[in-house]
Structure formats: structure tokens, C-alpha cells
């Protein structure tokens, strides 16, 4: 895997703005991610986190601003091109190719995201499934496996595309604490392989614990940025969450 | 100049006709996302109901309207409740293959039973027109134009101001949320389909008074309804008026000044262009899947 230049961030969002009619989903958001970082993206529901991810992946074209990935402006490119360049995303509502087997699901990523030939893609897919712990169900129809397994499957497919930057959109939602621990371990290993992660999560312990840095969105705007310790004490962040059931945790 | 005015008035009246039988289509799609390929059959059934009541029992077409409304309502309600509802959760292509199958059954059963003969309802007042400044305005078409306005206004009122209407809108916007708030989705959908069918049936009844009717007429009405609703915005009821008027006027002008055959081809080309360039319709308020 190529390492990008040390002085340039691998992914940058510059003044990103996206409106849906009268609704301002994202407004003037600036951020950058260094290669090998784990960046946490938090904020109350409706703060614009998923919209931001969709902008990064080319699902939405920003009304203002641009997305710069590996030094290239990618805002306006179709998602498949961005994926082939090395960025991939999991979805809030798990999307799998239900009629295909678990292996085939991952295959699609390798074939089209990484542009491998069928034999190589199959081999890599099997290795990746072992890595995420789905080796035992590789022949199962993906519509029939459990929800935690389906989330791993999405991660596996993302890894198969050869992504260097992985956007995780609430990949741990609905998991119990033990399952969350396992996923966190997996993500740390992925990072140790040199990948960059941007994580959206509502499970505060998880995202605070794993992130090197955090960005906080509220009503589409970035209201805070810093280390987990700084964010936990940040006045604006606490205010944003007042009225939500969450209390911010101190990282361990 | 007179030719232009006549053509324009013809187009406007035609547009009203289009709107009257397209509003139900828009409603059904807007609420449950079903593209009803047998929509035209409901026009046909309304038309034939009026025809037979008139021909066999000499009941004036306008008096058949309430019966048409009621019977088509029941028909729509039952078909939705027991057949279409089973696939409401499935991807949309399933529902339009299904409604297509129902179209075949209804249209060809009608063909079988009633034969392919063309028919018309000719009353004592059928050919009567108003003449204003040299422009001819047939009463029957004027009545349908009026009906179109009533239907669109009525549906709009129903949706915005009544309890049932709000339930329908809630179900349209967010099915799960509506269910959680106590809305009976099954009944609401069936009700919506029934209303859409009823309104369409009444339009069909009126149409029998000045258009030729025949059992296979349905499909072209379905296609036209789709054109009207795409132009006006899928699921946006007031838009059916605009869509209808635009199509009616464009077709009328083309038929007058160019060539009647071309108006068919150009309608399809126009539809094609609108779908590509502005799928949310002229006013941009339509639902785009």
C-alpha cells in the first residue's frame, strides 16, 4: 500500500455545504484526515453526519465546497470511481446483495472495486472473510445471516475493494457490548494495516475509545474538533447533547 | 385567429378530461408507490357501466355517476386489499408486473364478454354546444372540465383537511411512523385505492358521453395518465391539472397545425424528454422514486 505524502492529509473536506430544498443538511464543514488516523464523527441525530459521508462518497454533489482525496478533487465524481480510487463506506442500514452468498457479496467488491480477475478476487475474498470472522458462513445466502454478521459482511466487502480510507456509518448499531468489543478490535487491526478510518457512531464509549481525534457536528455545522479528552469537556458539545439520552463519556 | 382560439379551447377542454382521469393515478402512486397499469381499465369500466345503464335502462349518464363512483370504489378497495396489498412491501417492479397482469385479465375479459365493437353514449343533448364568439364549446366536455376541477379540489381537500386524508398523507410519507401512530395502513391503502378508482370511474362515465368506447381502450388511457402525472409531478394532485392542460393544449395545437398522427409520436417524445430532464414534473413537486 502506498503511503501518501506525510505533509498532506489523505482526505479533506473544504467548506462543504449541501441543502435539500429549504433544509440545510451540511453547512461550511471543513475537516481533514491524516493517513492512518482514526477520526470519529459525532453529533446528535440529524446533525448531518450521514449526509457528509454521502458527499464524500459522491452520492451527493455538494452545493458548495469540494472533497479532496489523495490530492485530487473528487466531488462530482460518481461513487464507483471514488471507490476505485480507494475510499469506501458502510451504510447505516445494512445493504447486502441478499440473494448472493456471503462470499459472492465480498467478491463484488474485489471484482469491481479492486478490479481483480475472478480467481484472484475469490481468493482474496476468502482471506478477508477469515479475517473478519465470517469464514464459517461463506457459503450461506447473505439474506439469512444474523445482523451482526451482516455488518461484518459489509466491512468485508469494503475491505475487498482495497479501500485505503474507510467510512463507517454506524457500523456497530444494534450490537451488544461484547460484539462491539470484537468489532473495535477488528477496526484497530485494520488501522494497523495502514488504513484510515472515519467512524460515525452513537455508542460513545466505542467512538471515544477508538478515535485519535473527533469532529462534532450539530445542525450541519462543525462545532468542535479535538482529542476525545478535549471533546468530552467541550461546552458546546455538552450543550448539543442536552436533551439527548446520551451523556458524554470520558475515554478510558 | 379563430382557428387558434378554437384549437386552444379544444386543448384546454381536452386537458381537463386528461386531468379528470389522471388524478386517481397520481393519488395511488403518491400514497403507496404503486404504478397502476390497469388504471385505464377503471376508466373503461366506468364508461361501460354508464353505457349499459343508458342503453338497457335509459338512465341518463349524469345520473349514473354516483353508482359509478360507488361500484368502482368497492372494486378498487377489494382488489387492493386482497391482491395488491400482498406485494406492497416488495420492490416496485413486482407491483407493476402484477397490475399489468390484472390489466390483461380485465381488458380481455371485457373484450370477450362485450366484443370489440365500438360504442358510444348518444343522448339528446350529446351534440349540444355553447358558442362564444365563434368558438364552439361542447357542453359534455365542459362538464368534464368542471368535474376535473371538482375532483382535484375534492382530493386536495380530502387529503389536507380531513382525518382520513391526514392518515393517508401520513401513510404516504412514512409508513412505519404512521403505523406507530395508530394508522391502520392496510385499511388506509385500500381506502386510497378505492378513492382513486372511484374518481377514475366517474371520469370514465363522463367520457362515454363524447368519446367512442371499447374494451381495449384502457391501455392508452393508462399511458396518457402516466404522461399527465409525470408532467404535473407524481403524487402531486394539483399538478395533474397542469399536466393535463399542457398535454391537451400541445396535442390540440399540433393536431391543428401540423398533423394529427404526429401528435401521438410527439407526446411520447415529450414524455421521454420530461422523464430524463425533469422527472419531478414541471413544478418540480413530484415524487422521484
Amino acid at each position: 500500500m502506498k503511503k501518501s505524502k506525510i505533509d498532506k492529509p489523505i482526505l479533506e473536506g473544504k467548506h462543504l455545504t449541501k441543502n435539500f430544498g429549504a433544509l440545510v443538511a451540511v453547512h461550511g464543514v471543513d475537516f481533514s484526515v491524516e493517513q492512518g488516523e482514526i477520526l470519529g464523527l459525532i453529533g446528535p441525530n440529524g446533525a448531518g453526519k450521514s449526509t457528509l459521508f454521502n458527499i464524500l462518497m459522491g452520492v451527493y454533489v455538494p452545493d458548495e465546497g469540494e472533497v479532496v482525496f489523495k490530492g485530487r478533487t473528487v466531488s462530482g465524481l460518481p461513487p464507483h470511481k471514488i471507490c476505485r480510487m480507494g475510499m469506501a463506506k458502510t451504510s447505516q442500514i445494512v445493504q447486502s446483495f441478499k440473494e448472493m452468498t456471503v462470499l459472492e457479496n465480498v467478491l463484488v467488491g474485489g471484482l469491481h472495486g479492486k478490479n481483480l480477475r475472478l480467481r484472484e478476487a475469490t481468493q482474496e475474498a476468502e482471506e478477508i472473510l477469515e479475517f473478519v470472522g465470517l469464514g464459517r458462513v461463506k457459503g450461506a445466502i447473505s439474506g439469512s445471516i444474523t445482523v451482526p454478521d451482516r455488518r461484518r459482511l459489509e466491512l468485508a466487502r469494503v475491505l475487498a475493494t482495497g479501500a485505503e480510507v474507510i467510512l463507517l456509518d454506524e457500523n456497530m448499531a444494534g450490537l451488544n457490548p461484547a460484539e462491539v468489543e470484537e468489532v473495535l478490535k477488528l477496526l484497530m487491526e485494520v488501522r494497523n494495516q495502514g488504513k484510515t478510518l472515519v467512524v460515525v457512531e452513537h455508542i460513545m464509549q466505542a467512538v471515544m475509545g477508538i478515535s485519535d481525534r473527533l469532529i462534532v457536528l450539530n445542525y450541519g455545522e462543525k462545532i468542535a474538533e479535538g482529542t476525545p479528552a478535549e471533546i468530552a469537556d467541550h461546552r458546546k458539545v455538552i450543550e448539543a447533547y442536552l436533551g439527548e439520552k446520551h451523556a458524554s463519556h470520558r475515554p478510558n | 385567429m379563430l382557428l387558434f382560439l378554437q384549437s386552444l379551447i379544444n386543448g384546454i377542454l381536452l386537458g381537463g378530461i386528461y386531468a379528470s382521469y389522471s388524478a386517481g393515478f397520481s393519488l395511488i402512486f403518491g400514497v403507496m408507490g404503486v404504478i397502476n397499469i390497469f388504471h385505464g381499465e377503471m376508466v373503461m369500466l366506468g364508461a361501460f357501466l354508464t353505457y349499459w345503464l343508458f342503453t338497457l335502462f335509459h338512465i341518463d349518464p349524469f345520473l349514473t355517476l354516483p353508482l359509478s363512483f360507488f361500484l368502482l370504489f368497492v372494486f378498487g378497495y377489494l382488489v387492493q386489499r386482497f391482491v395488491i396489498h400482498r406485494v406492497v412491501e416488495a420492490p416496485p417492479m413486482i407491483s407493476y408486473i402484477l397490475t399489468f397482469g390484472i390489466h390483461l385479465i380485465i381488458a380481455y375479459s371485457a373484450l370477450w364478454v362485450w366484443t370489440a365493437d365500438f360504442r358510444a353514449v348518444t343522448t339528446s343533448y350529446s351534440g349540444l354546444n355553447a358558442t362564444i364568439g365563434g368558438v364552439i364549446i361542447p357542453y359534455a366536455r365542459l362538464a368534464t372540465f368542471g368535474l376535473a376541477l371538482i375532483v382535484v379540489a375534492g382530493l386536495y381537500f380530502l387529503l389536507k383537511k380531513t382525518e382520513t386524508g391526514r392518515a393517508i398523507q401520513a401513510a404516504a410519507q412514512d409508513k412505519e411512523m404512521a403505523r406507530l401512530m395508530g394508522v391502520n395502513i392496510t385499511r388506509t391503502y385500500a381506502l386510497t385505492f378505492g378513492i382513486g378508482a372511484a374518481v377514475t370511474g366517474v371520469a370514465g362515465s363522463l367520457i362515454s358521453t363524447y368519446f367512442i368506447i371499447f374494451p381495449q381502450m384502457g391501455l392508452s388511457y393508462t399511458i396518457m395518465a402516466f404522461c399527465v402525472v409525470v408532467l404535473g409531478g407524481m403524487g402531486y394532485i394539483p399538478g395533474t391539472l397542469w399536466g393535463g392542460l399542457i398535454l391537451g393544449v400541445v396535442q390540440s395545437l399540433i393536431a391543428t397545425y401540423l398533423n394529427a398522427g404526429l401528435s401521438g409520436a410527439l407526446t411520447f417524445i415529450l414524455l421521454f424528454i420530461v422523464l430524463i430532464v425533469r422527472p419531478a414534473g414541471i413544478a418540480g413537486k413530484g415524487i422521484v422514486d
Binding site: 464507483h80 469506501a88 451504510s91 469491481h112 478490479n115 | 413486482i94 407493476y96 408486473i97 414524455l271 422514486d289
Partner: protein
């Protein structure tokens, strides 16, 4: 493999002295399998229900008719060119329409086919030429007997089935299936969904145009209403649906069944056939959405 004996039997039929009627019936079935198979390559595999497939069939028909009757081109060249013409037209039509979702795509394609019919109908008047005769029909030189079309039909059928088989197991096939299952997830996984859809659309159009050319030569006289008939598309849809959309042999099963049904009913009870088709559709959608082959495979 039961395929081999079946293939050998089918190849022998015309030579074995069976009735001309059987040869004709089987030839029709082969060509319907071909048509349904074409429809299946796009719509069965991607889930984009094309209601305008007959448009390419008609284009191919007229291309062959014109080439053979006006330019006196040989049959083989004509049908190949017809396929190419259809495929070329499919590109500018497919690019915009395949971006549309579900129902909108269905109606846009239907509008395309209807527009094509109208254009040919209005061609003479608008262009001021006398290209066609009578109701815009074209007569071709009389061709060879049914056996010729039997073998040609058989060949095309085999090619279409083989194509479907090959596509399903290829990288391209995975792209198409991913589009059908979860198009946005496919995009996000690196699948160029538009390109995959357009390719399938063009392949389907090519063979539909080719088959249109073959059948035109067989019919020797065509009019726009015959070759742009929406009922042809309907047959393709129902055959694939009944047999199993997206499967390799589904169209063959569906086409065989429906063609026989058609032959049984159509002459004496034309409406009954279509009503039956309607019921088949409803029953399949409600009870057996994967079609015959699809449902059997699950067991």
C-alpha cells in the same frame, strides 16, 4: 447432462420426417426462447423491467426488410447489420433511460417503442418519400423453407442461452446481479452500474434486432403494427417471469410453455389466451415470484 441428447434430438427433427407443423412450431419456440432470453439478459438480471424491447425487434425487422428488398443485400449480412443498427440505437436511448428508476424506466422504454412505431408510420408523409407500400409495409423476396428458419432459430437460441450462462458466471454478471439486489451498494463497492446496464441493454438490443431480421425474412411481409406490437414485449416479459427471471434456462421453459399455450388457444379463443396470461402473471407474482426454474433451484 441431459442437454446433449435433447440437442441431438432437436437437430434431427427436420430431417426425420416429422410433420411440417412440428418443425414450424419448434422453430417458433426457438425464436421465442431467443427473444425472451434477450429480455432476460437485461431485465431478468438487472431488474430493470424493459417495456420497450419490441422497439429493437422492430428496428431490426425494418432494417433487414429494407436491406434485402431495396439494397438486395444477402440475408446473413442483413441480419447482422440489423443487430448492429439496433445496438447502436440502444446506446443513446439506454444512456439516459437507464439512469431512471423502476417504473419510470418502464414507461420511458414503452414510450420509446411506441415512438418508433409512430415514426415509421409517419415516415413517408414527413420525409416526403415513397419508401413503403400500403400500410407502411415491406415485402421481401420469398425465402427458403421452414427448415432454414428452424436451424437459424436453433442457432440463435443456443447463442443467447450460452451468452446468458457465460454472463452469469462472469465479472460482468456479478455487476448486473449487484445492480438488481442493491444498486447503490453496488456503486459504493466500485461497480460502474450505468456502464453495466448499458452494456446489457445493447447486447439485448443486438440480438433482438437480429431475431427481428430473421423473422422478417420468414414472414416476408411486415407492417409497423406487426413488428412494434407491444404484445411481443409482453410475451417476452411473461415468458421470463414464468420461467424465472435472471436464470439461464428460465426463458426456455417459459417460452416453450407459453408458445404451446398460444398455439392451443390463439386461433379459436384469442382472448382466452391473453386472459390466461394475465392469470399466470398474477399467480406467479403472488405465489412463485422466482418463476419455475428459480423455485425449483431453491429446493
Amino acid at each position: 447432462m441431459t442437454l446433449l441428447p435433447i440437442t441431438i434430438c432437436l437437430l434431427i427433427v427436420p430431417l426425420a420426417g416429422f410433420s411440417g407443423y412440428l418443425v414450424r412450431l419448434l422453430a417458433m419456440i426457438f425464436l421465442w426462447v431467443g427473444k425472451a432470453g434477450c429480455w432476460n439478459i437485461l431485465s431478468g438480471m438487472t431488474g430493470y423491467i424493459d417495456f420497450g424491447a419490441v422497439g429493437y425487434y422492430g428496428i431490426g425487422s425494418y432494417a433487414t426488410a429494407l436491406l434485402m428488398s431495396k439494397a438486395h443485400a444477402p440475408f446473413l449480412v442483413s441480419v447482422l447489420v440489423s443487430g448492429l443498427v439496433s445496438a447502436l440505437i440502444a446506446l443513446p436511448i439506454g444512456l439516459p433511460t437507464l439512469r431512471l428508476r423502476g417504473a419510470y424506466f418502464g414507461i420511458a422504454t414503452l414510450a420509446f417503442a411506441e415512438a418508433m412505431k409512430q415514426i415509421i408510420l409517419e415516415f413517408d408523409k414527413t420525409a416526403g418519400v415513397r419508401f413503403f407500400e400500403g400500410p407502411h409495409g415491406i415485402t421481401l423476396p420469398i425465402g427458403p423453407g421452414n427448415e432454414f428458419f428452424y436451424y437459424f432459430g436453433f442457432g440463435v437460441m443456443v447463442v443467447v442461452i450460452a451468452m446468458t450462462y457465460w454472463i452469469r458466471r462472469s465479472k460482468f454478471g456479478y455487476a448486473l446481479r449487484a445492480v438488481r439486489e442493491a444498486e447503490q451498494a453496488a456503486e459504493l463497492a466500485g461497480v460502474d452500474t450505468l456502464s453495466a446496464k448499458v452494456k446489457a441493454y445493447m447486447i439485448s438490443a443486438f440480438f433482438l434486432g437480429l431475431i427481428g431480421g430473421i423473422e422478417t425474412y420468414w414472414l416476408t411481409y411486415i407492417t409497423p403494427h406487426m413488428v412494434f406490437d407491444v404484445l411481443i414485449t409482453i410475451q417476452m416479459v411473461v415468458m421470463s417471469l414464468l420461467g424465472g427471471m435472471g436464470t439461464v434456462f428460465g426463458p426456455a421453459v417459459g417460452a416453450s410453455f407459453l408458445t404451446v399455450l398460444y398455439e392451443l388457444f390463439h386461433r379459436d379463443f384469442p382472448y382466452t389466451y391473453t386472459i390466461l396470461v394475465g392469470f399466470i402473471i398474477v399467480v406467479v407474482v403472488l405465489l412463485m415470484p422466482k418463476g419455475i426454474v428459480g423455485t425449483l433451484r431453491k429446493r
